[in-house]
Symmetry: C2
Subunit: 390 residues, 2 copies
């Protein structure tokens, strides 16, 4: 398998971005990414475009082609990749495959979503369909927070996890998000604010939920040969990739305290990279709801099952702890433009591996220069885990 | 680059398929494909799912995951691929990359679309958005037939192409479609019937347009190592793949008599396969409208520019001619379930290369055992060309 590296990154500001159209939002991420890599648009052979919402919250039916033209990528191959909230990782992985196969030497993975031009209720309805729509949504009216509330209640019942533990995830992630210039919600929150915020789906409150955001991220990937040709001095190598899926019917899941797809995807990624959870210096995990981050600690092997809350309470997932997690604010504070999130994780981890987050006062110490991204689609229906190494 | 083969194929019947739900339709294609390959669902490592219409004409927001569960593929990696009407080829190419890279040994590419449960006008509106929506659709109200009518008028003006030439494409493709048990419109049409059918967008008439269909196709792909391990005796090898894109804004196209993306994609595929147009024994080309097939002859190098009508009139694209084209009925008569079409082309060509179409009385003679698929998305916004060899 050919080696593949990340050689350029760019991100738009996340938030409510009605100041730009979809192509302009993508360009806001694409331009810095090609400048970072020192390439021009005509060097790009393939655009893998992660986005879930064409026809749903995006009126453009072929957003990838429209964005490609605006970015000067006409003539390149184009594919839009969708795996619900893991669409960005699906695009990144597709670009990886194309290069690893030897078919392509330079590709761009774009993650994109623009969700705030439709009514919020429309966006919420469609997110609620990211499962077994005809059975669960129609018959039981399950919304997306309700799915995660089920997991939260189950974790609380089995392991004694407290609402305060969930709230601590929000406190931590908002702390780091307040330091991140591209974050959607750039403000700290206190434990009392989280616990006192309106209930959305008990035990999850408003501040346990990530916001609905607009955003775009662009990642330039290159073959080893291209890295040398371009004289890139800080390539970040893709060391491991794992992906898996789980039953869409909740009734067919073994339990509601962990995600099988995360465990399997992580196992594959660790094996391919030849590292274990203890080697990871910094991680981005899929905290669409606070409970999801706690479960991710356990599924990824950062601690034993049921000990996620303790890892958090002990400060081990903050900078200075054993394994800093979501120190860009995570989905919770940075925001979650669905298709952009997977690429946004790669953006942040590349910054961390290059030790470029120091200027924002949120650099994780590097021992092994190993970083991990964990991106979930639906309620664990898909999972992609990516391990990067400098 | 590792060698990759098609080792199993299956197709649903195309047509108005309100007798099945989306997962059942996919299973109708998937089941024969795994039986053909002699594998079980648990052998599949990756599902690349070509479909364009989630949220548009399909209420399922994550059709790939729902279909995967129904087919017993839970646990496999899943990605949905979209490139408008070339979504099936995008999925096939993604599965190819994953295997060629060495990351995966066995993958399935599914092409799927279910377009007939919504109002026909809704389906037509969304197809009309497969371009520069905010500019062309909103300002000029261009429908999809109107785009191709523009190309037809331009070809007629420059090369003297006649409405009768366009009609001959329909006559040929319906002849073969009438012999294909999975085709949507299994009936012959006469020249007079085509010319006398109602005008949709002059000079295109109803019988110049492909129908709006439901359908699914499943293709099993494997690495060379896996082909040996399974003892497959008739692998069909993927010899060349090319893909390209063009401006979404029609005003930025150089002319309206050919598709740049087709020419570029074909060039890349021929080069990779080490063959030329004269070596191709049978081809599937994207005849969403009759004019598109004539232009494809020229863009793919089967004849010189402007000589497409002559090639057709001389019977060179029928069985017995120099290069039989769309002898399964094509999009025109077999039908065009958007995301399924790219995989349906591979299905048909694999049948031809195995010489299994003889039983239906529509086998192309094989000299070189080389076949070509040409799948266009939008109005030439995307093009994927695939060359297979037995």
């Amino acid at each position: 398998m050919r080696k593949v590296a990340v050689i350029g990154i760019g991100s738009s500001r996340f938030g409510v971005r009605n100041d730009v159209n979809m192509a302009e939002l993508v360009f806001e991420a694409f331009k810095p990414s090609i400048e970072d890599a020192g390439i021009s648009p005509k060097d790009v052979e393939l655009l893998a475009f992660g986005s879930a919402g064409a026809g749903v919250w995006c009126e453009e039916f072929v957003p990838a082609a429209v964005a490609a033209e605006y970015c000067g990528l006409t003539g390149a191959g184009i594919v839009r990749c969708e795996a619900a909230c893991a669409s960005g990782s699906a695009a990144f992985t597709t670009a990886y495959w194309a290069i690893a196969s030897g078919h392509v030497n330079l590709a761009v993975a774009v993650g994109f979503e623009k969700m705030r031009q439709v009514e919020t209720s429309t966006a919420i309805e469609w997110i609620g369909r990211a499962g077994q729509y005809f059975w669960e949504f129609h018959n039981f009216g399950v919304t997306f927070p309700a799915y995660y509330a089920l997991y939260a209640r189950s974790h609380m019942a089995r392991y004694g996890t407290l609402e305060e533990d969930l709230a601590l995830v929000a406190v931590k992630n908002h702390k780091y998000g307040s330091m991140n210039p591209i974050a959607h919600l750039r403000k700290r929150v206190t434990l009392d604010e989280v616990l006192g915020s309106p209930v959305v789906a008990a035990p999850l409150k408003l501040l346990d939920c990530c916001p609905i955001s607009d955003g775009a991220v662009s990642i330039i990937l290159a073959s080893e040969e291209k890295v040398r040709e371009l004289g890139i001095d800080t390539p970040v190598w893709i060391a491991g990739i794992g992906y898996s899926s789980a039953a869409t019917n909740m009734s067919r899941r073994a339990d509601y305290v962990g995600f099988e797809s995360s465990v399997k995807a992580a196992g594959e990624a660790y094996e391919m990279a030849g590292v274990g959870p203890g080697d990871v210096d910094v991680a981005e995990v899929h905290d669409c709801f606070t409970i999801a981050e706690i479960i991710a600690y356990e599924d990824l092997g950062f601690c034993r099952k049921g000990e996620g809350p303790k890892l958090l309470r002990d400060g081990q997932t903050e900078i200075g702890g054993r394994i800093p997690v979501n120190i860009d604010g995570g989905l919770k504070s940075k925001g979650h433009p669905i298709g952009a999130t997977g690429c946004s994780m790669i953006y942040e981890l590349t910054k961390q591996l290059r030790e470029d987050a120091a200027v924002e006062g949120r650099q994780a110490p590097m021992r092994n220069y190993v970083a991990l991204a964990h991106n979930v689609g639906g309620t664990g229906h898909y999972c992609y885990v990516t391990i990067l190494r400098r």
